[in-house]
Symmetry: C2
């Protein structure tokens, strides 16, 4: 088996599982209980949160643990102040048309057009407006400048895109935001302007520091860094006020109630430690693999350019149907994707590929290949070879069928 879809899911690292195991069976206590073993769990949980926070240059108190990146992204948008946009969010009209922006309210949210569904869908519900990307997938900073109004409160730009791996210049975005905030201050305007970034994909290969990036809110996902599924986190700058999505026992500073997922968070901490440890080595390794893979692959068009994560390869095989390729490659035990898993399962064509100006034919023929820890160098060579064979076979089949049709027509 050659698994090349690490952007969709990563296995839990054995060392991560090892770190989690005692919390399932022995140290299972409720961290809120009053006796010592439970208090020990509470303190281990806090330490684990501290490890995760430290990995992005933040403090334990800046972190809210969630059940994954989707919840963290949704929670980030509660930072929007309670004005007309939040009111209209819960009006019957907008509730009945999930996914359609409530046109009646001022757009106070901007989001990159290539964002993951969990950002797009929420942003749309707040009447969000999309920021364009350039043909290389990078944010169009002039479009961003143009779209920021005095009403804009939140801008959401992922650190690395989940379909293309494009690494966005977040520090440049935050510089623009600083300028706007300075200008607002001069004019006596008090509306906040926050920068949120979904770092789910980036956490794997980029050295993330919230201060250096200049973000107010940052989404993390354990499941993309060889940690457990169902665990994520939202970094929240201390001066940002969020509103809980759910109510209950008041855990996570009242922002996310429910008994703490202790094994999950301890696993996440171990995973992030391992990731940080191998960051530079992995980046070099994947970059080398990408280079050799692309040199061995034939008859393709490279879709994602150098501004992307080293483990992301998006290639188009013009005239071919990528969904058929996924199926044919599966028969050879090579597993690749056509785009984001959750979109692919619904037969939705990639909106990210569309946003960077690809034609329908190009989109139809595009594969997303993401390297990871389950791979070794031999697999990368082997994968290129198998893909070449499958692609050649498909081209031959199509050519033959076209020739047969032509012959038939000539008859």
């Amino acid at each position: 088996m050659i698994y090349l879809d690490h952007a969709a899911a990563t296995p839990v690292d054995k060392r991560v599982l090892q770190a989690m195991e005692p919390c399932f069976t022995e140290d299972f206590f409720n961290p809120s209980a009053a006796y010592l073993p439970a208090k020990k769990m509470a303190s281990e949980y806090e330490s684990a949160k501290g490890v995760i926070a430290h990995a992005i240059g933040a403090k334990t108190s800046d972190l809210i643990i969630t059940a994954g990146a989707t919840e963290a992204n949704n929670l980030a948008f509660t930072a929007i102040s309670l004005d007309e946009s939040r009111q209209s969010l819960s009006s019957p009209a907008s509730q009945d048309s999930v996914g359609h922006p409530p046109h009646s309210c001022h757009p106070s949210v901007l989001y990159l057009v290539t964002e993951h569904d969990s950002v797009r869908r929420v942003a749309e519900r707040y009447g969000g407006q999309a920021i364009d990307v350039l043909l290389n997938g990078l944010i169009d900073l002039s479009d961003l400048r143009k779209k920021i109004t005095d009403e804009t409160e939140l801008i959401s730009v992922s650190l690395a895109n989940n379909e293309l791996g494009t690494i966005q210049p977040i520090a440049e975005v935050s510089q623009i935001i600083r300028e706007v905030k300075l200008d607002r201050m001069k004019r006596g305007l008090k509306r906040q302007l926050l920068l949120h970034s979904d770092a789910s994909q980036a956490l794997n290969l980029l050295d993330i520091n919230v201060a250096r990036l200049g973000v107010d809110l940052l989404t993390l996902n354990a499941a993309k860094v060889y940690g457990p599924k169902g665990v994520g986190a939202l970094y929240v700058s201390h001066d940002v006020r969020l509103h809980p999505l759910t109510f209950g026992g008041g855990q996570e500073n009242g922002l996310r109630s429910g008994t703490e997922n202790v094994p999950g968070v301890i696993g996440f901490a171990k995973a992030i430690l391992l990731t940080k440890e191998h960051l530079n080595g992995n980046r070099k390794k994947y970059a080398a693999w990408k280079k050799s893979f692309l040199s061995e692959l034939s008859d393709y068009e490279l879709i994602n350019d150098r501004h992307s994560l080293d483990n992301f390869v998006v290639v188009c095989f013009k005239g071919l149907d990528a969904e058929r390729l996924v199926f044919l490659l599966e028969e050879r035990e090579v597993y690749v994707a056509t785009g984001a898993a959750c979109a692919a399962s619904k037969g939705v064509r990639s909106h990210a590929l569309k946003a960077i100006g690809l034609t329908d034919e190009q989109i139809a023929g595009s594969l997303r290949i993401t390297f990871g820890e389950t791979n070794d160098e031999a697999q990368i060579h082997e994968a290129a070879k198998i893909i070449n064979e499958v692609v050649a076979g498909e081209r031959e089949r199509i050519n033959k069928s076209a020739a047969a049709k032509k012959e038939l027509a000539n008859d």
Copy 2:
């Protein structure tokens, strides 16, 4: 160690962990991906959901997986139709005063006064009104009848209380609801009337069947039945319309987005199977333990009566401070609780004990002892012995101190 706080947390059963393990490291695929191993995961995930659903007499499609009971309880309340109460929920006034009912709107929600925080807090935000309990902890059905108005849409009554273990007569509640619905129908009123029940604690020892109970919504929690933390489920009758709390990839029929927690759900399914298998045996076992425990315990007042789960013992040691007892018992490696863990950690006195009419002194002296799978019969005898010793020691200390004070006063 004698752990007697199974209502707060249960360890993951070794067989549950065994069932989960392959999904961490080998079968880790994203269920939404297009290739076969991922589709296999999707189908295993659905099967696991089917097992959970079947255990409560429901269908797979009736179940929405959540990150725990708190989220499930919160999701249940989204069934309330989008009228004035939902609008006022997101108005600045109610958002700024979390926990205080938005007085401006019609009360359309009723909840039992002894409910867990995750029901109470949400209900309060919808302007909910509390239903009284009788002195034995059972719902006051006449108070329920009195409080149901034409505006009432949702009634939330837990199947078994988390502090007292009180088993509520849900079928009787649903009979009352049926009568009200019939009356509404006759009068041409179209407002829905739904019954929600939090079955987190009950799942362990009661044979739950949604049709027999007559509930429209039912909350389940893996972490209370020797399954993993961070996994819960909401049963939703097919004619009830919910609204998602978060938005994204559209998993769980669009009601709960985010990559599926496959190991968690497979663990939950295994846990619920094991629970069902040992239901009758465990009930008898715990009932016998409770009887011998109470016969061996001295100098106490029994707080929870026969209408409670067999593994729940709530006892009051009058004149003593239960928090001090928890601490002293901890030194003897016996772990008990004063009430719900999440409330206890905030130093909040039990609202359930208050609701059943206990005096402040009684509440201050009350311990919650919950048996479970980590115990054996010898531990129960040993626990009674240790508690007797600790209680006797405390009484002696207090008497001595009182005598000393008296002597001092007589001097």
